[in-house]
Amino acid sequence: MTLNYKCPNCGGAMEFDADSQMLKCQFCDTTLPIDSELESQVEASTESEKEPEPEYDDYHGYKCPSCGAEIVTDDNTTATFCSFCGNPTMMEDRMSGVRRPSRLIPFVLDKQAAIANFKEWTKKGLLTPSEFRKKATIEKLTGMYVPFWLYDYDADVSMTARATRTRHERRGNKEIIYTDHFLVNRRVFVSYDKLPADASEKMDDDLMDTLEPFEYDKLKDFNMGYMSGYYAEKYDYTSQDMKERIEKRVKEYGDDAARSTILGYETVMPIATNYRLKCSNTEYVMMPVWMLNYKWKGERQTVAINGETGKRAGKLPSSGARIAAWWSGITFVCFGISMLIQLFH
């Protein structure tokens, strides 16, 4: 079943507005709070979904509740736009039962704020080609809710390390260095809360990790209303699938925590570490991300902006001409300065 939100005044499509944190009509600016009563505003299409064509197993057809056109999506899309009328449309059946997120962080940066953030970023990228700053490119910024698993972990970490401390003594023209060697054992307990791991196969893990941290105080109970006007995906990986990745991270954090308790030494070399990890809770949530896919020199790249905090992730393209210009410019400025020094030295 697909659904979208219609304005009670004019019947226009309503989208989530990051500024007001409410649904807003794109035509008459009517706003509606997002709460449990919102479901009454839903216009749904319960027509039977089209069976997938055998040769396109990954694609499913839905009917747009506004214009009746067919919306073709892949298996994981949960919110999109109708290609014909442009109205935001959500696939409710893909967000039900175990696939329904418990909470989400709504977008705080709207598209204008995301564009401003992106422009500021590209301005700092001194090697970024000017074509990349063009409006047509920036307009491709897409707001998307990315599925994440949040894990609560208790880590009991035992670390054994070799450590040294040195003392210096001076006798005439001789300097004596005494190095005291120690075997250091530490066992620490740390509780981690809401460690995130993106659950979408399409999303680059490094890119999503770079967007962290999200501010969890803005987590809200899940409501389809927050997704109106944005794209969204459901998870590909279960919480169990992601455990290996998240436990690797918990171990790294545990190492740092144990290492931070070994103080007063000049060198510390861990030689053995044991971990006892316990996952106390997992939660399926959606996180807001602005994405921009671009092709530069034939290579596909993605940059992303945290839709809540504005933190950026990804690599801006570098132009060969700009690299050459900066390189020669810096070289000649340095050379000019060195020549001036030589001239007056």
């Binding site: 090697l127 609560d152 300097e175 054992n185 620490v188 390189w327 340095c334 007056f344 030295h345």
Partner: protein, 247 residues
């Protein structure tokens, strides 16, 4: 009275100027009488031309009986005749030696190294044909010196900046530029900075359950510092030669 003072200062200035000019145009001091007057004229013109081109005082000094030896002796001769950085071609008949001596008033503007000076000495000695053709020796000295003197420029403080120094500076600047651009290139990529502490349960900390620090052993390393004798203060000029060549 004032006019008289000004006149005296001007006269002193002109006299000092003349002294300088005189000192820098010594050309050839042929006490051993190895050259004819026409050869002296030719050599003086050549010395002057090369000297002006290279901004150096280049002159030839000959004596029959050497009154000393070594770089100290050559330095005393040079300083007697010249107040500028330069190169002297010294010939003595007793002993039969030729030296090419380079002098710098601040000890830092040498253009030639010892090996090059020695090469010129050997070439000049060889050209003299066992002391029978000193004009050939002097001409060889001048032409070889012209070949060996590195390109460059004299800076405002009369320090010679060699072309090789300029080239090395340029290479260093290219490397600096490359490193900065590389830093800029990697700056185009955002990096992960999330610390584990961000995800620690609110109000919780790292709880130390057990801790043990066991001393195992001590190692000892002795470093002997050589007592360094302080070098004397600089000041004044100095020079070097290629060690001389017999003929």
């Amino acid at each position: 009275m004032r006019v008289k003072r000004i006149f005296m200062v001007l006269a002193l200035w002109i006299w000092l100027g003349c002294m300088t000019v005189f000192a820098e145009e010594i050309g050839v001091q042929d006490y051993a009488e190895l050259f004819t007057s026409s050869e002296i004229s030719t050599l003086e013109a050549d010395c002057k031309a090369l000297g002006e081109k290279e901004k150096l005082n280049i002159f030839i000094f000959t004596e029959y009986d050497a009154e000393g030896s070594g770089d100290g002796y050559l330095e005393s001769i040079y300083e007697y005749y010249s107040t500028e950085n330069g190169v002297m071609f010294y010939i003595s008949m007793n002993p039969r030696k030729m030296y090419v001596y380079e002098y710098s008033y601040d000890n830092s503007s040498f253009r030639l190294d010892d090996d090059t000076l020695h090469d010129i000495e050997l070439a000049a000695a060889s050209a003299s044909q066992s002391g029978t053709n000193f004009m050939a020796a002097a001409s060889t000295f001048l032409s070889k010196l012209e070949d060996e003197l590195p390109g460059g420029f004299l800076n405002r403080n009369n320090h010679f900046v060699k072309n090789s120094t300029i080239r090395n500076s340029f290479i260093i600047c290219v490397i600096i530029g490359g490193v900065i651009v590389l830093i800029m290139y990697f700056g185009q990529r955002s990096s992960k900075v999330t610390d584990g502490r961000v995800y620690m349960k609110p109000g919780s900390d790292v709880n130390i359950l057990e801790q043990e620090d066991i001393y195992t052993h001590t190692t000892k390393e002795v470093i002997t510092h050589e007592s360094s004798s302080s070098s004397g203060g600089g000041g004044g000029g100095g020079g070097h030669s290629g060690g001389g060549a017999s003929f």
